[in-house]
Symmetry: C2
Subunit: 251 residues, 2 copies
């Protein structure tokens, strides 16, 4: 058992302690050793430290306080711009303006971001994934001046934990919910009840249901946190933005 | 500097040593503590050990030898099936059959897979990402009996390294190529030459150019490894498969 992984937490509150440029660079250098499709490193990371830039990013993330409060905000982007420019410069004809290439770059940058997160946590820093990056990708691209073939995918806020003990440890499903032996074993109604019962019984989640005037925890997810009309709206925005950036979906 | 991350390598050759079910379960339990969108854990992992199942997966990965030679093959899937079933069971109306939800699940499972990879490497195991999972996702889904709302995203082969020293250490671009300060700084022709020169000068890459009868390394990528017509072909297949599984793209 990896005790470090078992104990890790998302850190949303940061102390005033700064993180040096050298420290960030070292963590990025560590993370760059993560696996990458065909050795292509289809990613870039934009480092935001200036208060003025955080303020500009803040509405893109619906004002989530971590974005302005963390000493460092990192926007991890799927990037085929650099690789494409290299191809052109080398007398090669790049053919990456399609969905599959976008998928490769998205995998690449997510692996890289997660390796950064782990490297940072192993140094005692705290991180938080900001889940709104693909919602307002266009606005983020404007603030960070992203060229064609570059799409923001993941935002991490990074800082020294203010009080790691005070941050909640997120609950997880039992492992039987996740793992399948040789073939996918679909879930019966009883399986579902069993898998989710601990989650539903947690006091914090019961409180959550009550506060939102719902009958069940699942309704908080479908009606409040991830309603269908919002998901469909953001689907359209992100789909159009990916195409605007140069990656064309099949017709 | 994280020496462990700096030294890590992709491992493509495995010894005969087995990995127990308990060991795999523990590593998955470790990885489950990785960050996940809204605590939803939008992923499943299918564990393949049986020779017969590896043989069925092999053509989906174009016969890459790691798939049949590794003791364990893991297929990590974006999974909204389990969560959707929970919603229905809980009197909630799920609204996840869209592109944005697919993107969330794809991020989730990639973070989870990378955390598994790191946990396994920290235990002395070796892993290899098989980059063909999204190319033949439909065939993989048939072999593994994936239901609607489940899409295979990442395949990892896992085993004890046969000879870690003999595996090549992949080169990486200089960090200046990846990191941008406050705003994306686009690359001039000179920047591109500088960034890629070490990569191009490596003996192994020069050999690669020669073997493939090309003038430049970039041409190996565009003409041999990732040609446009293949990328566009796989774009269509994956796009259609995602829709078949239930995630609808905007019209």
């Amino acid at each position: 058992m990896n005790v470090f992984f078992q104990k890790r937490k998302t850190i949303r509150h940061y102390s005033d302690a700064e993180i040096s440029d050298a420290e960030i660079s070292e963590l990025i250098a560590d993370a760059m050793n993560a696996p990458t499709t065909g050795g292509m490193q289809l990613y870039s990371v934009i480092v935001t430290r200036k208060a003025e830039m955080k303020k500009k990013l803040s509405p893109c993330h619906f004002g989530q306080p971590m974005v302005t409060e963390a000493p460092v905000v990192l926007t991890f982007c799927a990037d085929f711009n650099r690789f494409e420019k290299w191809c052109v410069k080398s007398g090669a004809k790049p053919g990456f303006r399609n969905f599959e290439s976008f998928v490769s770059a998205m995998l690449d940058v997510t692996i890289f971001a997660q390796q950064f997160c782990t490297a940072a946590e192993m140094e005692g820093l705290g991180c938080c994934y900001i889940g709104t990056t693909t919602y307002n990708a266009k606005e983020i691209a404007e603030v960070l001046e992203l060229p064609k073939m570059v799409v923001p995918i993941v935002t991490l806020t990074v800082g020294h934990p203010f009080d790691a003990d005070a941050e909640p440890k997120a609950e997880r499903l039992p492992i039987e919910a996740i793992i399948h032996d040789e073939r996918y074993k679909d879930y019966s109604g009883n399986d579902i009840v069993k898998i989710y019962s601990d989650k539903e019984e947690m006091q914090v989640n019961k409180q959550f249901v009550k506060e939102n005037n719902k009958q069940t925890l699942a309704q908080v997810f479908t009606d409040v946190r991830y309603p269908q009309d919002a998901s469909e709206h953001f689907s359209e925005l992100f789909f159009d933005f990916i195409e605007d950036q140069g990656f064309k979906f099949p017709k």
